[in-house]
Amino acid sequence: MSVRNFVALAALLLAGLLTPAHAGDTPHWVHYRLLNGQAHLPKKVVVMPVSVRMYEVTAGGVQEEVPEWSTQAEANVHKAVSALLAKTAGMQEVAMPRLSASERAIIDEHMALYKLVANTVPTSGLKHKLRRFDYGIGPGLNTVLARTGADAVLMVYGNDYASTAGRKTKAVLGKIPIVNIFTGGEVELGHSFVHLGFIELKSGDLLWMNSEYRQGASDMREYDDVEDLIAAIFKWYPGIERYREQYAYDE
């Protein structure tokens, strides 16, 4: 064997040993009960209180929430989500009922638990959980929301960071050699992020979730931008077969 072939073979062996066993590229997550037909897709859905915070970021990186912007962004997100639910076959939005203080406390703690679950899933490093995705938050929400007739809730949260004009200028100048010695290096511009997740009320199982992250020009005060973000998330709904193919689910 020539030296060249030997090196090529060694490289192939090395690549084979170090390549991850699976490289999935679907951004969404599907509960195994949906994959194996033990659960049905959500039909009557309560949209949980939408939480979107919008911040202004200065040239020096100081972040300040702008309450009017957050209110506008939340309204846009809720509107876009409601529109998409209305368009999705077999799905219907159900209004959130009036809650007592104790019911509100139950809702709040479940939303806090959901946030922890949603943040843990993508960072756990447990590849076998991709094949059998079985996360949830327990059936506690059902005690409060069963009276609505809903079978699922939709968790919605996000944030948006908008750069000031000074920051944008700094970003541009930061890319110019020599100039950027005086103005400072590149700075990160704003980004938008929205997360959606369906919870089955009876079991508390996290049936489906997805997020969209966009850097740069997206502004959640603009309905069109939000509509686009939500559409990008829902593009993967429900994506059961796509998920099954990707992760070779077997029961």
Binding site: M1, F6, L9, A10, L13, L14, L17, L18, D108, E109, H110, M111, A112, L113, K115, L116, V117, N119, T120, V121, T123, S124, G125, L126, H128, K129, Y135, G136, I137, G138, G140, G204
Partner: protein, 219 residues
């Protein structure tokens, strides 16, 4: 022939270079986890760290220090959600941030008090509340069972149950942390089974290891 043999040797060497996975999934063939000082059982479908952690970096009095320990972690859904940790600390560095040692003659409630003070100081969680502190037996040794709770920034109650004991080889804890809502009760039996299966090994009585050479630079 010689060349094929040489290629096989290279392939084997390369295979040895591949890093071990951080987590090992438990199935019917590998329920028992064995470390140097202890072993314990893990339920099907849970993962555990493949190898024990043998040191940690802590800030003590404003300076970074390397502290030796032996620790393994078990989880089902990710340590962000729930974690069961089995740790042995050596006597001289049993409670490093409050600078106290463990001594075999200490009574269980005294050891428990030091442990809680250490946790509070180390994590900065002044408001970590002790819900109960009872005597317990771990591997036949007299110890404590502590149940503690705090709320995170979002108001989610996080519950912690710790079993612990001190002997001449050091201070041992078996701790389970999870959100009180749904997760804690759901997986408590798995933790109780783990505690019931915990067993100290002869390796606990060997001299403690040295701090790794490279870590001494930072000690």
């Amino acid at each position: 022939m010689k060349r094929i043999f040489a290629l096989m040797v290279v392939a084997l060497l390369l295979a040895g270079c591949a890093p071990k996975p951080y987590w090992t999934l438990t199935d019917q063939k590998n329920h028992t986890v064995t470390s140097t000082s202890f072993e314990f059982g893990v339920s099907d479908g849970w993962v555990r760290t493949t190898e024990p952690r043998t040191w940690e970096r802590l800030e003590i009095d404003g300076a970074q220090r390397t502290i030796l320990l032996e620790s393994m972690t078990v989880t089902r859904d990710g340590t962000g959600l729930q974690a069961m940790t089995i740790t042995r600390r050596y006597p001289d560095t049993a409670f490093p941030t409050i600078k106290k040692k463990s001594v075999p003659t200490q009574l269980a409630p005294e050891v428990a008090d030091l442990y809680v003070a250490e946790l509070r100081k180390r994590t900065g969680l002044e408001r970590l509340a002790v819900l109960s502190n009872k005597p317990a037996k771990i591997d036949g040794k007299p110890g404590f069972q502590l149940v503690m709770q705090y709320k995170n920034e979002d108001g989610l109650r996080i519950q912690i149950v710790s079993y612990g004991f001190a002997d001449k080889t050091g201070f041992y804890t078996l701790t389970y942390r999870a959100p009180y809502l749904y997760y804690y009760e759901r997986d408590l039996k798995v933790f109780n089974d783990l505690v019931g299966s915990f067993h100290q090994l002869k390796g606990a009585f060997d001299p403690p290891p040295e701090i790794p050479g490279w870590a001494k630079i930072f000690t």
